[in-house]
Homo-oligomer: 384 residues x 2
């Protein structure tokens, strides 16, 4: 597998595998390596070292810590770091200068007290869920910088010069990260989120299809495929945290590719929520179908309508996924929705005398499917 | 709310609210502040500063970065940091010494090349899902230390002394973190996980109960409560990531309280998995009940049996949650299981002629409930 990894560096393979996960990770590794070489060169240059001294070390540290897999995450960390450093450094300088004016034993007491209260307050704020979600790193850096600056103030060195040198060194690091992350084979969190939404449409379509097939066709080998359908639905539900993190990073990304300035991340989150609901009702459908009720209990007419509805739903999901993938204006799904509606009423009359149990599940799936459809329709209209 | 926050510091309130989230966060903030004051004092002491110089700054940095909310997370980060620093520093020293032997222009080239390849390889490894889950921070620190040491090797300072001074400074920081995190009002990740499991049993019991009540009693205001039941189930399913992180930290925790040396984290994960499955089938049950089928279609006998089964399931879930909470040996649930089994067969005969749809959902819930019960039984036997 080491061989495989290195083979991926060959240009032809590199292009062929561009989409695969391994090559993307290798490319990310190379980007980080490149950024670190650039920042090391800066450190080695006499002119930079003469000006910044050992503070140039902070540029190296910044590159290692800020450079993330997606551009959005890198930008978010960079902004957090810059703001955290500035505020923490400013406050630290003030405390140090105050302590120097107090002098004597009061100096250590002033610094100790302010270190305790400011760090405790910042740590408490950092733990609030809303803050933690977006500004966790900024608060960490604030506490770090504040302490370093305040504590080194005890020795009465030229704090102000040290602080500004470090800040400019950190800014250099952030600039290098931004440049490489945005212009060298960038990985956009918004594209990832887009792909993830499209793949979810596909997964759900597959699992609805698979579960209807299981139900109506083979009775012998039911259990093997059912679990894989279940897995697809569960993975859609479980990916909540990962998708929300992606959306969080996507907010930070500047204009690129086919998206306008305002990346519709709120709409993406709403679509993902609807998809999760649809996944939950597909799960219900599956567990209803897995039960003892046999399809032979259904009248042929009901079974046929049922299959037609599910086929149409699967088709619609795939089509929606494709439309979102191509960023196309949605085709008029109104007509499809109307047709499903009429089939539903037909089904209801067909089975009113027969056994209703599966249709319960099917109905709820339909309902959610329709809500997704109508919502996505709105979404596409706004987007294009 | 600022007033409320400060009121929580009053001893009597502190004890009363010990369990609430806000006071725990305030305590954590105070612990971090205390650790930082201790480490600042070390920096201020002449004897330490004379020996370590400005490298004492690394102790401050370590405390800020390593001190986490739970003891397990702190230990895990400390170990990662210590190992990452040692390996990265060792490799960095080797590269720097090698570069000094090469000398001339070759020096910069040697360092640049090794920085590129080692950083790229480490970054690639870091992105592997298994590594990322547990050793992400260790790899970050490895890359950071390696680069700092290797790059400062260009200037030909006494790298070895700098490296060892920093290492001992970092070790001092880790020691302070460990001491405060383990001995001052510790928050154990294993206790959190334990509590989270117990609360999940309760949530599921409530939502099964709520959904049966909705179904059998009031027909007028169905929708209001149903959504809250749904929310309980969804939160059980969504908490997967958070619980897995807790289990990951719990592994690192030493013996404490009522747990033996081997915290049964694998069993906890298995129970959580079963609980998620149960939540998924409760969701199915709910969507089946939400559908158009009215309880009036059920024969009275079937309805009664149905209610009895759900009551028993709810009772059993609550009892299991309590047993796990008290770390007690499980009461003989075999008998309960047998009784549910007999009720199930009775139910099957009672409704074979009537409408079956709800029971499908109920049955699958029962099945999962029983598997949870039997599993937890095994778990308790092993534990006590």
């Amino acid at each position: 597998s080491v061989f495989c990894s290195w083979a991926a560096f060959h240009p032809s393979n590199l292009i062929a595998n561009m989409g695969t996960e391994t090559s993307r990770r290798l490319i990310h590794g190379a980007k980080v390596g490149f950024a670190l070489v650039v920042v090391s060169l800066l450190y080695m240059l006499e002119v930079v070292h003469d000006k910044l001294g050992d503070n140039a070390m902070w540029a190296v540290m910044t590159v290692v810590v800020v450079f993330e897999f997606s551009s959005g995450a890198t930008i978010s960390k960079g902004v957090n770091r810059a703001i955290g450093t500035t505020l923490g450094g400013g406050l630290g300088c003030s405390v140090a200068l105050l302590a120097q004016q107090v002098g004597g034993t009061g100096k250590a007491i002033t610094i100790g007290t302010s270190v305790f209260f400011i760090s405790a307050a910042a740590t408490y704020t950092r733990l609030q869920p809303k803050i933690k979600k977006r500004y966790d790193y900024g608060f960490l850096i604030f506490i770090l910088t504040f302490n370093l600056v305040a504590v080194s103030g005890v020795r009465g060195e030229e704090i102000w010069r040290v602080a500004t040198d470090r800040l400019s060194s950190i800014m250099m690091g952030i600039t290098i990260c931004y440049f490489i992350s945005l212009f060298v084979l960038p990985v956009w969190a918004s594209d990832e989120l887009h792909k993830s939404i499209v793949s979810k449409f596909d997964k759900l379509a597959n699992s609805i299809e698979g579960c209807m097939e299981d139900y109506f066709k083979s009775d012998g080998k039911k259990d093997t495929k059912a679990s894989s359908n279940l897995g697809g639905c569960m993975s859609v539900i479980y990916s909540k945290t990962a998708d929300e993190a992606l959306a969080n990073f996507a907010i930070w990304e500047p204009w690129h590719g086919r998206f306008g300035y305002g990346y519709p991340y709120k709409k993406c989150l709403r679509i993902l929520e609807l998809l999760r609901e649809l996944a939950a009702s597909t799960l219900s459908l599956q567990s209803c179908l897995k039960s003892k009720l046999q399809p032979s209990l259904l009248s042929t007419r009901a079974a046929e309508t049922c299959q037609m509805i599910s086929e149409m739903l699967v088709f619609m999901l795939r089509e929606l996924g494709e439309d979102i993938f191509n960023m196309r204006m949605c085709r008029p799904h109104d007509t499809v929705a109307v047709r499903i509606q009429s089939l539903k009423t037909e089904l209801a009359t067909a089975v009113s005398a027969s056994n209703l149990s599966t249709l319960v599940g099917v109905n709820s799936t339909m309902r959610d499917g329709l809500s997704v459809a109508s919502f996505v329709f709105v979404f596409m209209e706004v987007l294009d």
